[in-house]
Point group: C2
Chain length 327, copies 2
DNA sequence: GAGGCGGTGGCAATCGGTTGCCATGAGTTG
DNA sequence: CAACTCATGGCAACCGATTGCCACCGCCTC
């Protein structure tokens, strides 16, 4: 397509200076005389010069690219995280390289390995890789782990403990005295945490708890969970995440169980679909977009250890005062 | 982090050959003696050598990266497209560079301009840029345009005409004789097409049509549209897309209007939330994932002109036989 | 035995920037 | 006025691959 784009050498010739001066005019503002710099910029603009990011990356080793790994782009949770990360990255002059693991450990490792040498940092937002694979990556590039904790790898997690506390307390206040946790994927670190904190919160209030699962964290998973749920119907359910909760909610209704009159349902994440199911889902809202932003900030600044983001409970209509099941 | 990764020179020294031979052993299989190549590969593996994509890209000009531009990552439509594009790209040994325009023309142009020199091709899936800005980009790199048509820029669009025909016909068959189109953003090419084909389809069946809008293609937009809709309630509504349709549907219900008993609602795209609203949304399904894949294939093969993807109507419960409004 | 040829491997230029180091000259200081 | 400092610009060596061109070798052919 057309001819080759101009280089610093073209600009240098046109401006009557050395290439190094052109380079500095752009990358090291104070280093050249203001007037010279101005002239160079003008000439460059006339010629339509733009720095070639590849060529710039080679000697410096900095590519201004960040790899963002998600386990499933179609999950709305990641949409929010990506949005946050993308905007923060753009502001910092970075660009995001997206890797969709498609729920496959192998695919993810492979893609990441290919991408690694070309990026300045890695954000693992939902990864299916093993702890050791994560450490291997983290050894090569600054890495931030989202919603998971691996020793020696900095991360940003939601305050699962507090979130669970809020959810359990909310159900308790509505008169529920027993609840069932619908678990997410076994490999999910967040799932383990949520179940653990749910137990703790329940113990504090002397609630009885049960756990079913694991299930895939999708509406279909929720449907599957409901089959099990129906065998011994609880009055309150907390699901690993919103998608699962939505699946449960829909399947319960399809089976003639009324939500929230007979069963209260609580989710996690507060993604968009949670607002539009009927009834709208009560859920623990995590600042996903902020998390994406924070991840970029952290990965660019070689962060400390671990960061915890606040959560809040969004009370909607999928939870209600307990009414004993008629039977 | 640790020391620098090994280069072809390290491998060359260890294997007792020249760097060029190492390079060829990887990039030009038949060019070196099989035994030599095997030895080089072994040595390379021992040293943990991986080709540096940046360095490789500099002389060849090929980066194995594709830019994917979306107008709003949080829109589930793009999740599907990205998924399709990502997997096709990965299979072809390419990596996706994601640009989220965040609905901003300026931001988009700026980001794309920065990214352009570093990619081998561009996929514009939902762009807010002007035709001329698109042409400028297309002149610099192979470009594929999704759901929009700009002369001389190859693209992949849904069969809006047939989709609209199906939707209108469906409503006609249910007894509706007038319908209202809730328009999407003015800048959207697809919106223009859909409205046009709706009119044509309606004319064929002698239906009366009305158009309101434009509205932002989100549930909030749908809410706004409903205010207008309520002033003169139609029996059937077709919205620019699912998100808008969902907004309309929810707002109608909130106003005490029954869907589908009083008003039938049809969307476009068949994204996930369409399945979970109550009632589930009747919508024109577009093969979004396939579109993502096709875009990658096309951009890598310098495609022909224009491709049209088939659509189908997914009949759910937001449409029903017309019952005259009681009033 | 000379000339030719295909298969291999090496040399060195090249891609387009970045940056350490040096030269120059103007300005400052004692 | 000499010595010194500092601002500024140029030279040239990288960064790590790719690739055109050439040299060498063994072998075949006439």
């Amino acid at each position: 397509m057309s001819e080759k784009p101009p280089t610093i050498y073209d600009v240098a010739r046109a401006a009557g200076v050395a290439a190094s001066t052109v380079s500095r005019a752009f990358s090291r503002p104070g280093r050249v005389n203001a007037a010279t710099a101005e002239r160079i910029r003008r000439v460059a603009a006339e010629l339509g010069y733009r720095v070639n990011p590849l060529a710039a990356a080679l000697p410096t080793g900095r590519t201004n690219m960040l790899a963002l790994v998600v386990s499933d782009v179609t999950n709305p949770v990641y949409g929010e995280i990506i949005r946050g990360a993308e905007s923060a990255a753009a502001e910092a002059g970075y660009v995001l390289l997206l890797i969709d693991a498609q729920e496959s450990d192998r695919l993810e490792r492979h893609s990441l390995e290919r991408a690694l040498p070309g990026v300045d940092g890695v954000i693992l937002a939902g990864t299916r890789m093993s702890d050791s694979a994560i450490r291997v990556a983290a050894k090569q590039r600054p890495t931030i782990l989202l919603n998971r904790v691996v020793t020696d790898v900095p991360g940003i997690v939601h305050d699962n403990a507090y979130g669970m506390h809020l959810a359990v307390r909310h159900l308790y206040d509505l008169g529920h005295r027993a609840l069932t946790y619908v678990a997410g994927p076994e490999a999910s670190w967040a799932d383990g945490m949520r179940w653990r904190y749910l137990r703790e919160a329940a113990a504090d209030l002397s609630l009885r708890v049960r756990r079913i699962g694991p299930f895939t964290p999708t509406p279909e998973g929720g449907r599957a969970a409901t089959a099990e749920l129906l065998r011994e119907l609880p009055t309150a359910v907390i699901a690993y995440n919103d998608l699962l909760a939505i699946g449960v909610l829909l399947a319960l209704q399809a089976s003639g169980v009324c939500v929230p009159a007979e069963v209260s349902v609580v989710g996690f994440d507060n993604v968009f679909p949670a607002r539009i199911v009927t009834p709208p889902l009560t859920t623990v809202a995590a600042p996903l977009r902020a998390q994406g932003r924070a991840a970029v900030t952290a990965v660019l600044s070689r962060p400390g250890r671990l960061m915890t983001l606040p959560v809040r409970l969004v009370e909607r209509d999928s939870t209600a005062r307990r009414r004993p099941h008629r039977r």
